[in-house]
């Protein structure tokens, strides 16, 4: 059980600044998801917590204790790697028991712990196999097992599901989350998949180019994104972002008012989630539908705002058998669903 604190954490590789100062307090037992596009520094951040990368500036505290200078093995953490990093020459049981053996635990005790973990992860009967004799999903479980037998204070996951097929990914996502809350161990979980972030996180940290764009619960990030980046990265399909003007306390798209705003007059970025617009013959948004995608539970309409080249996507609940292609439709929007951002800084207004 542990807390993790990041204080103005920075990382540079030579002159290449990769992490630009991240602050975060993680409480005991929390499931934190670090989410962002590829190359934004998620792994680097996680590896600094693990002790696999040195910290350029700032501090990592584990349980309130400075960990910057500690070796990985002295941090009481366990990590699951993207490629699982199993020991290819060892059996499943040896893989899981390796850390315990090094800690000097008696053989019988190791065997008991490994068996219990194997049972928990439905790996019974596979203990004598080598990693290469396992399926991707089973390898993933072995990597999990290796992490849990040591009963660490913090779990670190670096995109553990990205090598699995879609169905298994959904299943393992649930299992990992369930396991973590059952064991009550603090977890940091890296992913580039916003669905994983939304479904698994107690809180998430949305990263972009080494900067934490927003730290908050999934619903906070979804409902009140603090930056354009967070707004567009979280939520699927991505939020529509339109150039608008604030004039006389109203947000104008061309010469139609979409919603009200008490911000100062001038240009603004207006964010509208596709699922937050609804067909309305009197609505302010006129859209020319170019393509509709019926997904079953909802239907996506892709097109542009009438008379412009501005792309716009709307999501309608339910199956719409009528083909809307080439049609002009009007949409209305609830004023609470208008997100306004400063066009220069991208910050929420």
């Amino acid at each position: 059980m542990a807390t993790v604190t990041l204080k103005n954490l920075r990382k540079s590789f030579g002159s290449d600044d990769v992490i630009h100062g991240i602050d975060m307090e993680i409480s005991d037992g929390e499931f934190i998801v670090i989410v962002g596009p590829s190359g934004c520094g998620k792994s680097t951040l996680l590896r600094m917590v693990a002790g696999l990368e040195t910290v350029t500036e700032g501090e990592v505290l584990i349980n309130g204790e400075r960990a910057n200078e500690k070796e990985p093995m002295d941090r009481d953490i366990a990590m699951v790697f993207q490629n699982y990093a199993l020991y290819p020459h060892m059996s499943v049981a040896q893989n899981m028991g390796y850390g315990l053996k090094i800690a000097g635990m008696p053989k019988q005790e190791i065997a008991a712990k490994v068996e219990a973990a194997a049972h928990l992860l439905q790996l019974d009967g596979l203990l004598d196999r080598r990693p290469k004799q396992l399926s991707g999903g089973q390898r993933q479980r072995v990597a999990m097992g290796r992490a849990i037998v040591r009963e660490p204070s913090v779990f670190l996951f670096d995109e553990p599901l990205s090598n699995l097929d879609a169905k298994l990914r959904v299943q393992m996502r649930l299992e990992i989350k369930e396991l973590q809350s059952k064991l009550g161990v603090t977890a940091l979980y890296v992913t580039h998949d916003q669905v994983e972030a939304m479904t698994m996180a107690d809180r998430m940290i949305v990263m972009n180019a080494g900067v934490a764009e927003q730290i908050g619960t999934p619903m906070e990030v979804y409902e009140t994104p603090q930056s354009l980046f967070a707004a567009q990265f979280i939520g699927s399909p991505a939020m529509n972002v339109l150039d608008a003007q604030i004039a006389d306390g109203r947000v104008m798209l061309g010469d139609v008012a979409v919603c009200d705003s008490d911000q100062r007059a001038g240009p603004v970025k207006l964010g509208l989630r596709p699922e937050h617009v609804a067909p309305d013959p009197q609505g302010p948004l006129a859209m020319e539908v170019l393509l509709s995608e019926p997904l079953g539970a909802n239907t996506l309409l892709h097109g542009r705002l009438a008379g412009t080249e501005i792309a716009f996507t709307a999501s309608l609940q339910g199956v719409h058998l009528a083909n809307h292609d080439g049609e002009a439709m009007r949409f209305g929007v609830d004023p609470v669903d208008c997100h306004l951002f400063d066009p220069e800084t991208g910050h929420r207004l």
Binding site: L52, P72, F81, N83, A85, L86, P88
Partner: protein, 293 residues
């Protein structure tokens, strides 16, 4: 999964292996056949006629005290050469692998000795350890150690082992270095998180993962020490003192070309052939089982 190419006819595959078969036939099977044939005869002192003696040459050899001691020298020599060329190579490769910057230059320097011909290497070492003008023997003398490999059999053995192993370190280093680079970083990192410190990781993770390379190098180096060290021994000790460094392959030369006893020499090379064949089979049979590919 093993990938296999399947051919329909027999002509194409035969054609494809023909060059290899031809080379093996000319340079291996024909001389080997000749050696086996000759080992059954004793030529007269003038080399004009051959007398058939059956297994006589072999019987004589196994009764010969010198030949038996040559077996012993060969065993010592090849064990020492193999160890002395593989262990330092592995050690250097581990160092180079840890070094990120400048490992290129370091690698190039380490490869140079391999480019030195065995006989030249022999001369080099002979000069360094020359009992009268050698740099190293002079320093040893300053330290109060009287180096004389011309008289001392163990010192002679040490010197030919060092000279033979030296160039091989480069060769082995290259293989070990490449193998180390192929060990996935994340596996090492997982072990570090699991609590294993450097040497523990080395012995429980890295070394087992290097085993295919180690096994390959073991076979190659044993064969090297048997056959390719002739030049070194010839230039440094010429098999002496008192045959202390006369390994089997040197004895084939000494008896055949110097002693002109071609029958015995041929018999010796047949025995050598059998020994190396046997060693290789044993290595594959017993060690390969412990190798994790």
């Amino acid at each position: 999964m093993e990938k296999r190419v399947t051919f329909r006819g027999v002509m194409l595959p035969l054609l494809l292996i023909a060059p290899q078969v031809f080379i093996s036939a000319v340079f291996f099977f024909y001389p080997a056949g000749q050696a086996i044939w000759q080992s059954l005869f004793i030529p007269d002192p003038f080399g004009l006629s051959n007398q058939f003696v059956g297994t006589g040459n072999f019987e004589f050899l196994f009764g010969d005290r010198h030949y038996r001691s040559s077996f012993y020298s060969t065993a010592i020599f090849s064990i020492l050469v193999t160890l002395a060329s593989m262990i330092p190579a592995l050690f250097l490769a581990v160092l180079a692998d840890r070094l990120i910057k400048g490992s290129g230059a370091y690698r190039t320097l380490l490869i140079w000795p391999y480019a030195v011909a065995p006989a030249v290497a022999g001369v080099l070492w002979m000069f360094m350890f020359n009992t009268r003008v050698g740099v190293v023997s002079w320093y040893l003398g300053q330290l109060g150690y009287d180096w004389n490999h011309v008289l001392n059999g163990s010192e002679a053995m040490g010197l030919v082992v060092a000279a033979s192993a030296w160039g091989r370190i480069s060769y082995n280093f290259l293989f070990f270095f490449a193998a180390l680079q192929a060990v996935p970083r994340s596996v090492i990192e997982a072990a570090a998180i699991d609590g294993a410190r450097f040497w523990r990781r080395f012995f429980t993770i890295v070394l087992p993962l290097l085993s295919p390379t180690t096994f390959f190098l073991l076979v190659v180096n044993v064969v090297y020490s048997f056959f390719e060290t002739f030049g070194v021994i010839h230039t440094i000790t010429a098999g002496g003192p008192q045959q202390a460094t006369t390994i089997l392959v040197y004895k084939v030369y000494a008896d055949g070309f110097v002693g002109q006893d071609l029958g015995s020499s041929a018999a010796q090379s047949v025995i050598l052939l059998l020994i190396v064949g046997l060693l290789t089979v044993l290595q594959f049979k017993f060690i390969e089982k412990r190798v994790h590919y």
